[in-house]
Amino acid sequence: MSHPKAASQFLKDQANSLWHDETLWMVREKRDAISKTIPEWEELRNLASQIKDKVLSNLDVYLENFEANAQKNGIKVHWAKDAEEHNQIVLGILQEKNCQAIVKSKSILTEECHLNPYLEKNGVEVVDTDLGERIVQFLQQPPSHIVMPAIHLKKRDISALFHEKLQTEKGNEDPSYLTNAARLHLREKFLGSKVAITGVNFGVAETGEFVVCTNEGNADMGVHLADVHIACMGIEKIIPRRKDLGVFLRLLARSATGQPITNYNSHFRSPAKGKEIHLVLVDNGRSLQLAREKFRNSLKCIRCGACMNTCPIYRRSGGYSYGSTVPGPIGSILSPGLDMKKYSTLPFASTLCGSCSDVCPVKINIHEQLYEWRQEITKHHGEFGKGLSMKLASGIFKSPLAYKISGSTMRKAIKLLPKGLIYNPLNVWGKNRDLPEAPKESFQEWYKKNRG
């Protein structure tokens, strides 16, 4: 479904869309408040952006260093060129270990690769252990937000869902009660799982270790109880040195939720005795994006979700309106790189207000890239037949005379015609908005008379 269609459907439930907007705006306000307690905030953003610049310009070298150091630490490193290869590698490890049930902590990458349905098809039970992700998994929905996967649901929806799935008391909406029920349910899954899958927030080239950030500690719980840890990591998640984490960890949680730090920032360096760590490094279109000069720095993203919380479109249209794994502003510049046709309406789902670029902790020029994607998309897909009418308009812009005629014709038409008729040709504008009253003369006419 195109974004405009999905958005107008979401907006039909006015109370719900207002609630969604306000809920996410609250997160943005928390982020504002805490970022303003850090005097060097803008300096941190600059540093983070520059570190990522350096990484992206030398990605091959850093990746090889990272691989070599990880291997020295006893980590088994795999390379996947695309989603399919990634899924095959993961399944291969599971089959080798004879494993039919796994726990998984939050990982946008495995969503991007559609790992869950793939594993399920191959007879593996997958349990997402992040509370929000478990909730959307119960509903067989994808996450609607990259940090708060179930942000589109209200307490009462979750209460009803848990009543059905976990036999909680009907109508009990108490968050601690519901969370506790989820804990008991997940504990069973944790204890029964020999393999745990996690994402990766940062891979440190210098040491070969990787860092996973969660608020619920579910990644650690899964990994410590399992014999095998499979970590899935996009190749852009590299940082050069461990000390660079000081920059990124300070930015990440503050930007994401307004917390000073994520609750669990766990470093994984080498497997415990008798255990294994597998690291799957995934490309899946990233090298291509790296080669696109105008869009390469979209790969700096640390998945904090701040651009979603601040986006006036996202807040009012919901994560699902984008129809892509990563929704919101960053999704709208990443997704067209994966499939330009399928995601052709996304770069237009923006007013180019630029709030995303100002909020982004790694200073991705998101709104400028949205503009650039528009230029690309119209070359290839003639965007919603806008082509022709715009061509006409371009003829008008070029010639002052034609512009004048069409302008004054329009003004006269507006003056003479009854309301019903005017709003016919311009009916989209006029559905919910009046047009300005037509003045008796243009400025140009006034100027000639009064200053000429």
């Binding site: 907006l11 528009r374 371009s394 008008i396 812009f397 002052p400 504008w429």
Partner: protein, 252 residues
């Protein structure tokens, strides 16, 4: 050495010329009152922004070339629109045979309020405007031209329009709940994403109304046209004036 008075070229966006001549007149009169030598080069057309933002920047060579020809000889170019100024500066296609004109124009083009504060160095204006005024920050002016600090950033707060308006006698500057959220106009977005566009506009209006604003002002008529369109349709009593109109009226 005696410097001759700089020549200012008045750049009036097409929709202002056609639908809001009073804003163009106010801009001209205001600059004249402040002692500037202003002329309006005839034959101006649309700057090409709607086309470029719709993904057809490549079709705007003709209009860009025409613009540069019209304005290249001026010492300054001033427009009552942050959005169109930003377009000229950032989204004119590169014209290899007009590089010089392009960089000259880019160095000399200003949105009205920044011209007043940064070039004319107006600290505050004397005049009276006894109304409760809510300011709508146009995103292109705000985050594109940095006419004010954006609420996302941790920088010393400033706002060029506020600097000019706040000392007018009787003017009450209203602080909004969301100081710089987008109004949802967004050019063709206003029709391609009609539902969202209107909802965003309603939400902005609600913020002004709940703070008892009497007059909504701003530096871009495109945002104000959209907001006024919704307000009028809904029978709201809010009035809309461009910053130039308030300033010109207040100091006369």
């Amino acid at each position: 050495m005696k410097k001759s008075q700089p020549e200012i070229g008045l750049f009036i966006p097409c929709y202002v010329d056609q639908f809001f001549p009073q804003v163009a007149i106010a801009t001209l009169e205001l600059l004249e009152k402040l002692g500037c030598k202003v002329s309006y080069p005839l034959g101006q057309t649309c700057c090409g922004q709607p086309l470029a933002n719709s993904g057809y920047e490549r079709d705007t060579e003709g209009s860009s070339r025409h613009f540069l020809e019209l304005f290249k000889q001026f010492d300054y170019i001033v427009a009552p629109s942050g959005s169109c100024v930003l377009h000229v500066k950032e989204h004119f296609p590169k014209l290899s045979d007009m590089e010089h004109e392009q960089s000259r124009v880019n160095d000399r083009i200003y949105e009205l309020t920044e011209f007043l504060t940064d070039v004319l160095k107006v600290d505050s204006l004397k005049g009276s405007f006894p109304k409760k005024v809510g300011f709508h920050s146009s995103c292109h002016g705000l985050r594109g031209l940095r006419l004010a600090s954006s609420s996302e950033m941790n920088v010393t707060p400033f706002n060029k329009a506020k600097q000019l308006l706040q000392n007018l006698e009787g003017l009450e500057w209203v602080e909004l709940s969301r100081v710089d959220e987008c109004c949802g106009f967004g050019g063709t977005f206003s029709v391609t994403e009609e539902a969202l566009s209107v909802q965003m506009g309603r939400d902005r209006l609600q913020d002004h109304q709940s703070h008892q604003v009497e007059i909504v002002t701003g530096g871009d008529m495109s945002c104000l046209m959209h907001l006024q369109g919704i307000a009028d349709r809904e029978g709201s009593s809010l009035k809309f004036m461009h910053v130039a109109e308030i300033l010109n009226q207040a100091i006369s």
